[in-house]
């Protein structure tokens, strides 16, 4: 594979639904490489779907440009390429199949006027595991099958880019996982770039090559899933990607004082600093002579292959994730032991912290 070139360049996109309402997308800028799986992750109302609709051409931005395969789709005062001429696929949350057309007709809808349309549809149905269902109508299919038809329909015209708007949220948990993997493989197989919009962090982390976390219309951080998980830059990102302890530390150089003692830091800092410690990066030590125990277990949740403890230290509660062999009980005095360095967070006040 040669060095991937950006297929999509988004720069300074701004969007408000009406003049009287606050902007839902603010100054959004990022690039997506050819063949990449990119996820936009954020809570509902963060503007991710609004941005996707601007990208598809359903809505117009108030400022900014989108460049797709070297062509400007949407300049502030320039031309606005109509939806049907953009060549970008879209998969809707509710599938949006044409209820009056059969599965084959749905999949072939974007192949109008192509000579080998029927053969194309047949091949696609086969590779999506939908062989034999071509004559059915959408209401005769299960949710998972409808989902595949929707994907097949948007893949059929071979767009370079497909936008997926929470496509798995209508499926039940087990099916969701299965379909996700399958669809990822198919998109890879056809070499199609994808942008997935979701509020499910697990979905974003497992589907995407890169994840962008959005809040209040802005992107807070972009990066590979592991990087995002292990080194979040703000308290919001840290909390949104999974359970974590955001605590105020007194930093000096590479170490800091936290309520349960001294921890190493991911990078040097000084003075009062917010840091993030994932529960699985902490452990517990039982009361013993010479061990100073400041914490008391106030809650113990046995979940099978692991246990989550809530430890009270003064006024703050710390979550600790351990394997299922620890025998401590509620009320026991314990010491919290950090296993990894604490991640230094940027100065965003964690207003949404309890």
């Amino acid at each position: 594979m040669t060095t991937p070139a950006p297929i999509l360049v988004v720069s300074g996109i701004h969007r408000r639904h009406s003049a009287s309402l606050p902007a839902v997308v603010r100054d959004l800028s990022f690039t997506v490489d050819e063949g990449e799986m990119f996820a936009l992750l954020g809570p509902s109302g963060c503007g991710k779907t609004s941005f996707l609709r601007v990208l598809a051409g359903f809505d117009a931005p108030d400022a900014g440009t989108i460049t797709y395969r070297g062509r400007v789709l949407n300049a502030h005062d320039g031309p606005n390429i109509p939806i049907e001429q953009r060549g970008i696929g879209f998969v809707f949350q509710n599938h949006a199949l044409f209820p009056h057309l059969t599965v084959a007709e749905n999949v072939g809808f974007g192949l109008r006027g192509e000579p080998d349309r029927d053969a194309n549809v047949e091949t696609l149905l086969h590779s999506m595991g939908l062989s034999g269902l071509g004559g059915r109508y959408p209401h005769e299919l299960s949710g998972g099958q409808q989902q595949r038809v929707a994907i097949a329909r948007s893949v059929a015209p071979r767009p370079s880019l497909i936008l997926l708007d929470e496509p798995f949220s209508n499926l039940d948990a087990r099916l969701r996982h299965e379909t996700r993997t399958e669809i990822r493989n198919i998109l890879r197989q056809f070499g199609i770039t994808a942008i997935l919009v979701t509020h499910d962090q697990e979905e974003a982390l497992s589907f995407a090559d890169r994840v962008a976390v959005m809040k209040d219309g802005r992107i807070l951080q972009i990066g590979a899933p592991e990087v995002m998980y292990h080194t979040p830059r703000t308290p919001f990102v840290a909390r949104f990607l999974g359970l974590t302890n955001v605590v105020l530390a007194e930093a000096s150089g590479t170490t800091a004082q936290v309520p349960f003692g001294t921890v190493r830091l991911s990078e040097p800092a000084s003075g009062p600093t917010w840091v993030s410690l994932r529960p699985e990066h902490l452990s517990l030590e039982a009361e013993a002579p010479g061990v100073a125990c400041h914490g008391t277990i106030v809650r113990r949740e046995f979940k099978g292959h692991d246990i989550t403890f809530t430890v009270r230290l003064g006024t703050s509660d710390i979550l600790v994730h351990t394997d299922n062999r620890l025998s401590q009980r509620v009320g026991d005095h314990v010491r919290v032991v950090p296993l990894e360095p604490a991640v230094v967070l940027q100065d965003e006040l964690p207003v949404d912290c309890p």
């Binding site: 696929g89 879209f90 949006a96 974007g110 959408p138 949710g143 409808q146 015209p157 708007d165």
Partner: protein, 533 residues
């Protein structure tokens, strides 16, 4: 689709605003000309017109008739709706049918029936030898209009009663209320919105009625407009009468809006509501049978036997006239149905897909076209067409256009609910797959809403088959329809000649009622793309 509040504008521009403009112009221009015509006189003449005591008499008569019809309809519709939903007797389906069937006998046909059945030369005298005093004037108009209009109230009350959450009544009982108290304090308040909506329909109908009051010779505003226009040729006074009638209608709409604003019915709480009501008629159950007998006798048996009796006498030599009037009715009804639906599709689309857009106002205009008393509308159209396009005056084209505007509201309902069941994302999918806005609409939306469009076509077609007042004033010279023939033959007491025409109208109206019942009984379909689980 994170937020459900986002709505999608796909087809926009001329496909929406051209039909919209036509509708707005079709209502606004005639009304403007009505006012222009009305103030086109010197002050003393106007003052003389406006302070006539006759105006007060007309107002009194019109209000008296509206109140009387509303009271009678309530007395019939309420017990009937109760029996149809809560009665513990057999044949509740039959009771529902009885509550709806009278819709298939238009007011002017009922007026014909009353006139043709009573009096010295009426059916009852000729057939049974019993001479019933001739029913006309207030009593005749009251019976004819009540019989025709009570089903509107019945349908509203019945669906309200069916939709009541029975657990509310049960919790009231458990809180210590007696059955009577539950009825007065729990059930009645919940029926209010349905009752007011139904009574508004009835009052609008009485205000707009021309056929019954003219045949019964009871002087309301509509009848006076007709007399001034056709008899006295006093167009200035006719214009003022039309304006007074419009003001009266407008104030009724305001009263209704005010009453409904103060009526709140809370939505259901969580959990599934029980809708299977307890069956009670109380200790007065035996009264149901004579009540049902009288209703069935007046609204079904009397019309059918009278029509049958006179039709036997008139059928032999009626064929050519009958064919001519059927052809006339068809030539007006078919284009009206088509035009109405063509106008209704973009307006319904705009109202469903762009709920926050100013285009929403179009729907209001459509309902205005329905609420304006037909005679006032027709008169306004005559003034406007004489002033602006004299060539259109008394042409079939103008008649069809005005009727399309009038029936637009009727066509909007089914098309609107069909659009509501379509998913905007389906249309957007078609866009993403390479279709222009108009093509996306044609290929992805139109096939799905076709049943709604067909229903609207049928409703408007059948309504137009029995339309009287607009046709009466606007049709070309010498144009005959079934309704016009019933009216003119009845007006000249030629009951035998009128009968076959009236029977055909009843037949067409019965089809209308059948369609209505079918739509009514069908539950809203699940979303067409909802997954099967």
């Amino acid at each position: 689709m994170g937020s459900a509040g986002i709505r999608y504008r796909l087809v926009r521009g001329w496909p929406i605003w051209v039909p919209g403009l036509i509708v707005v112009a079709g209502i606004a221009i005639p009304l403007v000309y009505l006012f222009i015509r009305a103030v086109d006189a010197d002050f003393t003449e106007l003052a003389g017109l406006l302070v006539r005591p006759r105006n007060l008499v007309l107002l009194g008569n019109t209000l008296m008739l509206a109140v009387g019809v509303l009271a009678t309809s309530t007395l019939v519709a309420f017990p009937l709706a109760w029996l149809a939903t809560r009665g513990n007797m057999h044949g509740r389906r039959f009771i529902t049918l009885l509550g709806v069937l009278p819709l298939s006998i238009p007011g002017y046909v009922m007026a014909y029936v009353l006139l043709a059945a009573t009096g010295r030369f009426g059916a009852s005298a000729l057939l049974l030898g019993i001479e019933i005093p001739r029913l006309s004037g207030y009593t005749g108009a009251l019976i004819a209009l009540s019989t025709y209009t009570f089903p509107y109230l019945f349908l509203n009350l019945r669906s309200a009663l069916t939709g009541l959450d029975v657990s509310l009544e049960e919790s009231a009982r458990s809180l210590g209320l007696s059955g009577r108290d539950v009825f007065l304090r729990v059930i009645l308040p919940q029926l209010k919105p349905a009752y007011w909506a139904g009574s508004l329909l009835i009052v609008l109908h009485v205000l707009g009625d021309f056929g019954v009051v003219s045949l019964m010779r009871f002087e309301t505003f509509s009848y006076a407009i007709y007399l001034q226009y056709a008899g006295a040729f006093d167009r200035l006074y006719a214009a003022w009468l039309a304006i007074m009638l419009l003001l009266l209608t407008g104030s009724m709409l305001l009263v209704e809006a005010r009453v409904l604003r103060n009526t709140h019915v809370a939505g259901r709480g969580p959990g599934s509501a029980r809708t299977r009501p307890a069956k009670t008629t109380g200790g007065w159950g035996w009264l149901a049978w004579p009540f049902l007998g009288v209703v069935a006798g007046v609204s079904v048996v009397l019309p059918l036997t009278t029509l049958g009796f006179w039709a036997m006498r008139g059928l032999s030599n009626a064929t050519p006239a009958l064919l001519e009037s059927v052809a006339g009715s068809l030539s007006a009804s078919l284009p009206t149905a088509l035009l109405t639906v063509v106008l209704a599709i973009p307006i319904a689309y705009a109202s469903v897909r762009m709920p926050r857009s100013p285009l929403r106002v179009l729907e209001r205009f459509a309902y205005m076209g329905y609420a304006i008393p037909p005679l006032a509308l027709a008169l306004a159209v005559i003034f406007a067409s004489l002033a602006l396009f004299p060539a259109l005056y008394q042409t079939l084209g103008l008649l069809v256009f005005v009727c399309a505007i009038h029936f637009l509201a009727e066509a909007l309902g089914p098309i609107r609910s069909a659009f509501m069941q379509t998913n905007p994302a389906v249309e957007e999918s078609a866009r993403v797959l390479g279709r222009t806005p108009l093509r996306a609409f044609m290929e992805a939306v139109l096939p799905v809403v076709r049943p709604g469009i067909v229903a609207s076509l049928a409703f408007v077609f059948l309504s137009m088959m029995k339309e009287l007042p607009l046709t009466f004033l606007l049709s070309p010279v010498g144009f005959r329809t079934l309704a016009l023939n019933v009216w003119s033959h009845t007006n000249e007491a030629l009951y035998a000649q009128a009968a076959p025409h009236a029977l055909l109208i009843v037949l067409f109206s019965a089809i209308f009622v059948g369609l209505l019942l079918r739509r009514e009984s069908r539950r809203p379909l699940p979303h067409p793309t909802a997954p099967v689980t």
